[in-house]
């Protein structure tokens, strides 16, 4: 096997050095009945040429990867500067382990410290951790943290939170004795109905809203914070489209106590759902309740500044079952990619990306709204995603768009809301050229008129 340095001959010599005659003797401590008596039923080894051909042909069958797309809903297609992927491919970064030995891991440690700082700046919070698996698990951990902080066991989650995030939270709390309640959203505005949140009282640990919410609507986070704080509950804000942080008032500035976000928008490919990176930030006073790893400043005897993993007493390897979370390996390299992205785009670039996303999305929304038969059901302000109500069932319309116009027009909301057959969630980012948007609009018009033909 070409990845194994020692040749069969060398290994034979080594075996005799340790007093064995053949490789099987290495496994003497495994009882015969526990051994595998036959070779594994996996194919013979492939050469690079064969392997690449194999995966190229698989990749070629992901037709959706090759065409203009207006899919968002938790995974966003943004442009990533070439240096992002080039730098994370330095083996110094991608083949290193968790920085347990600071003297020979300062590169990783300093980068994480910079990541934590950037997350704080963008979310408007005091402290952030070294990353979570993704946005959905970060939200689940936020719910558990709220319970730890408040010692209350009921959490109210907006019905406009990403459905998959909600499912993950359900799974996580199933046996943690936390009860999840739902706050409805307003069918006219598309925003969470904050005026009367059912069940909001002194027993509630936290209120959870997503902004922009799953339907693209920007929530009134400040109002949510006031409502939550009024009963001594925490406000947890979730962000799935982090590009919005370049334009929207930061959750921290609106009074959020815990902010979690999906960082995929920061230069990370959509890659069929992962790996992504969960951002997790909170205020100073809750720092010791944070799940996951934290990097902090430390100095050596000569007073030179360095960085170390710190506040480890929160973690599983010290606290075991009393840890704030069971997380160990997180998303280090993706956090690094996000860090490089944020620093390359920088202050002005993050603002311009947000601006272009919003501009292009609003252009698209106007054009679509102008097509006969299509409407935008929600009145609330949006960033780069919005719901379109089509005159036909989305799962008839979208395949036709794909086949006839080679466009992935968006997400059929029926995937999550069977009761909404005609609704499509459309997302537009800086990578969608005007020509693509116009093609989408033209396509919608065609499909629609052809429908009337069918009917008449």
């Amino acid at each position: 096997m070409r990845y194994i340095p020692n040749s069969p001959e060398e290994r034979q010599e080594m075996l005799s050095e340790v007093g064995l005659s053949q490789a099987v003797d290495l496994f003497d401590s495994i009882p015969a009945d526990a051994r595998l008596a036959r070779p594994l039923d996996v194919p013979d080894a492939l050469s690079e040429i064969e392997l690449l051909a194999r995966f190229e042909s698989l990749a070629a069958r992901n037709h959706a990867a090759g065409r203009p797309s207006f899919l968002g809903a938790g995974a966003y297609s943004h442009y990533s500067p070439t240096i992002v992927d080039a730098l994370i491919q330095r083996s110094e970064f991608f083949t290193a382990y968790t920085p347990y030995q600071p003297e020979v891991s300062q590169g990783t440690l300093q980068a994480i410290f910079e990541f934590q700082t950037l997350v704080c700046q963008l979310t408007g919070m005091d402290v952030a951790n070294a990353s979570m698996y993704d946005g959905s698990t970060a939200l689940a951990e936020a719910v558990l943290m709220a319970e730890r902080v408040t010692r209350r066991r009921r959490v109210i989650v907006s019905a406009a939170v990403h459905p998959e995030y909600l499912e993950v939270a359900r799974t996580y709390v199933a046996h943690a004795g936390v009860e999840l309640l739902s706050a409805a959203f307003d069918e006219a505005t598309g925003r969470t109905n904050l005026e009367d949140i059912e069940g909001l009282d002194e027993t509630v640990a936290a209120v959870v809203v997503q902004s922009p919410n799953f339907f693209g609507c920007v929530e009134d986070v400040r109002a949510a914070a006031e409502r939550a704080h009024a009963v001594g509950a925490l406000l947890v804000v979730a962000v799935t489209e982090s590009a919005s942080l370049g334009m929207l008032r930061s959750p921290g500035a609106c009074g959020a106590d815990i902010v979690i976000a999906e960082g995929q928008s920061f230069g990370v490919p959509v890659s069929c759902g992962g790996p992504y990176v969960g951002l997790f930030a909170t205020s100073e006073k809750y720092a010791r309740q944070l799940p996951g790893r934290l990097v902090g400043v430390a100095h050596d005897k000569q007073g030179r500044r360095g960085f170390v993993l710190t506040l480890a007493t929160r973690e599983q390897h010290i606290r075991r079952e009393k840890a704030t979370s069971n997380i160990c390996t997180n998303e280090g390299l993706i956090a690094l990619a996000a860090t490089i992205y944020m620093t390359t785009m920088g202050r002005r670039g993050l603002q311009e990306v947000a601006e272009q996303c919003a501009q292009k999305a609003h252009y698209a929304a106007r054009q679509i709204a102008a097509v006969e038969g299509y409407e935008l059901p929600y009145s609330a302000p949006f960033f780069n995603e919005f719901v379109v109500r089509a005159p036909v069932a989305a799962d008839e319309l979208l395949p036709r768009l794909a086949d006839a116009h080679n466009i992935t027009g968006g997400l059929a909301l029926s995937r999550y809301f069977p009761g909404r057959p005609n609704d499509i969630l459309v997302c537009v980012t800086e990578v969608n050229r005007r020509s693509e948007i116009d093609a989408l609009v033209a396509g919608l018009r065609k499909v629609q008129s052809s429908k009337f033909k069918v009917q008449s």
Binding site: A64, S91, T95, V270, D300, Q316, R347, G349, Q359, L398
Partner: protein
């Protein structure tokens, strides 16, 4: 030739300290749609009012030099042996990186129509099949994002299974975990609502059967979480017996698969009676650790437990691959979408590159390397357990500590010899643990250099303890004061610090 020397390296401030107003590292195409006036776009009160104060402003060159410089401070696999016990730091092939970056995969949106994502679904399906064959377990979910996540998933499945079997909330609330287990095990069990009971290990470093029987007698045992080979690098030779005891007591057996690098192609947990296991693709199947992730922790289980696996599962009907959402007994989702797909690609590429023979060959080479180290150091360092090690070998600082030299010191001194230290102070069942896992990716010569370095350090501990106690001497910074760092945590940069360090 000495293994390492010191050489000049660049220092580098924090990216925020490098930032200068007005620098630009990006360019976007001009906006190509008719502009919407700002206030129509978004009401002012919803807009940021801090102008992103503090976010860096840099040229592309600044960014490249910053991250290139700091990268050179890291030790990494491509430099040599990285013997962190329990972490399986094996070679990460560039071929796998290339596969993961094919546009047809990297640009595929997770919510794209099934019919237009067949290639990705087939990748996941095929990986599931191979992992099932390797573990000897029928059901596989690729959704967990790391080992601990897989544990949580598996333990929750046990919970769901028991509730269903015993009707309603099962009274079984005890999860048995050996004292040698990794911290994530109890943490995951706790998250799943179990009470953790610790099982003693025997003087041979094995699970204490007697104690196990005792604990199982109570009738409230939900299951056992076992690592095998265990974290002492020893195979639990009574594994079938252990499983039987737990099963007879009405519990299930969870195996922590972090150490599968000792077993692939040689023995299968499923054949030993294990009910559910997680694998660390970022260990056994060589997906890169990336300085702390991403990982991938697939969960494999018996046919009996399969209905409880997370939703969705990738299934096959004829030559179509589908996502099955219709799984009423499932514990639900543990992650949005389908797991760390990019890692699935790499792991599948790794399995196909090794092939039938290669997988077993790697296991043999990994165990052989660990044996060489055991062989080379047993006379100098305290080896707490006699059993021959599998893929990793455990030593302690017992002898050296008599002279005041402890595991931490030995680890730091190894750095001066050009090695990354081993895992230290884990497992907790022995004092001053040094857990050494070379993996199959190390050549004989470097194994010998490592043995020699360790013997040298042992000598130094006697002849010149100070030298070891003050190590490392060759790095750009010395040992850092972690106590103060934790007492007065500084967890982010603030402009204040800028003036301080500028």
């Amino acid at each position: 030739m000495k293994k390492a020397s010191t050489h000049i390296t660049q220092n580098e401030a924090l990216i925020f300290e490098r930032s200068q107003p007005g620098r630009r590292g990006y360019m976007l195409p001009p906006l190509d749609v008719d502009e919407t006036p700002a206030d129509e776009l978004l009401p002012a009160e919803l807009r940021r009012d801090d102008d992103l104060e503090g976010v860096p402003e840099l040229s592309e060159v600044d960014v490249v030099r910053h991250f290139t410089r700091i990268s050179t401070w890291n030790f990494h696999i491509d430099l040599g042996m990285y013997p962190l016990g329990s972490c399986t730091m094996k070679y990460n092939s560039r071929l796998n990186e290339r596969v993961a970056r094919m546009p047809g995969f990297a640009n595929l949106h997770p919510l794209a129509p099934e019919a237009d994502s067949q290639g990705a679904l087939e990748v996941m399906y095929e990986l599931q099949r191979h992992l099932s064959e390797i573990t000897g377990l029928a059901g596989v979910s690729l959704q967990p994002a790391a080992g601990a996540h897989g544990e949580l998933t598996g333990v929750m499945m046990i919970r769901a299974f028991l509730d269903k079997r015993d009707g309603g909330e099962s009274a079984r609330h005890l999860m048995l975990i050996p004292d040698s287990a990794h911290g994530t095990n109890p943490a995951s069990a706790h998250l799943s609502g179990f009470t953790v009971k610790t099982i003693r290990s025997t003087p041979e470093g094995l699970t204490d059967l007697e104690h196990l029987r005792e604990l199982c007698a109570g009738g409230d045992v939900a299951g056992l979480m076992l690592t095998n080979p265990n974290t002492c690098g020893i195979f639990e030779r009574n594994i079938t017996e252990i499983c039987k005891i737990v099963h007879d007591a009405g519990g299930l057996v969870y195996m922590d698969g972090a150490n599968m690098n000792a077993l692939v192609g040689v023995a299968r947990p499923g054949d030993m009676g294990v009910d559910v296991i997680h694998l660390n693709l970022h260990k056994t199947f060589s997906t890169p650790h990336g300085g702390g992730g991403p990982g991938s922790g697939p969960c494999c289980c018996t046919a009996e437990l399969e209905p409880f696996l997370p939703t969705p599962l990738v299934t096959r009907s004829g030559d179509r691959f589908r996502l099955d959402f219709d799984r009423p007994s499932s514990i639900g989702r543990v992650k949005a979408f389908y797991g760390n797909f990019g890692m699935h690609l790499r792991a599948l590429a790794s399995i196909l590159t090794h092939g039938r023979e290669g997988l077993r060959e790697a296991t043999e080479a990994a165990v052989l390397n660990a044996r060489m180290i055991a062989h080379g150091l047993s006379d100098i360092y305290d080896k707490p357990f006699d059993a021959p090690p599998m893929h990793e070998v455990l030593f302690t600082d017992k002898r050296q500590s008599r002279k005041g030299v402890h595991t931490l010191d030995i680890a730091k001194r190894l750095i001066d010899y050009g090695f990354h230290p081993m895992t230290i102070y884990f497992p907790l069942i022995v004092q001053g643990a040094m857990l050494i896992e070379p993996t199959e990716s190390v050549g004989r010569h470097e194994i010998e250099q490592f043995v020699e370095a360790m013997r040298e350090i042992a000598r130094e501990s006697v002849e010149d303890p100070e030298l070891v106690l003050n190590a490392p001497h060759t790095t750009r910074i010395g040992r850092l004061d972690e106590a103060t760092a934790a007492r007065k945590p500084v967890l982010r940069w603030k402009p204040a610090e800028k003036t301080a360090t500028a």
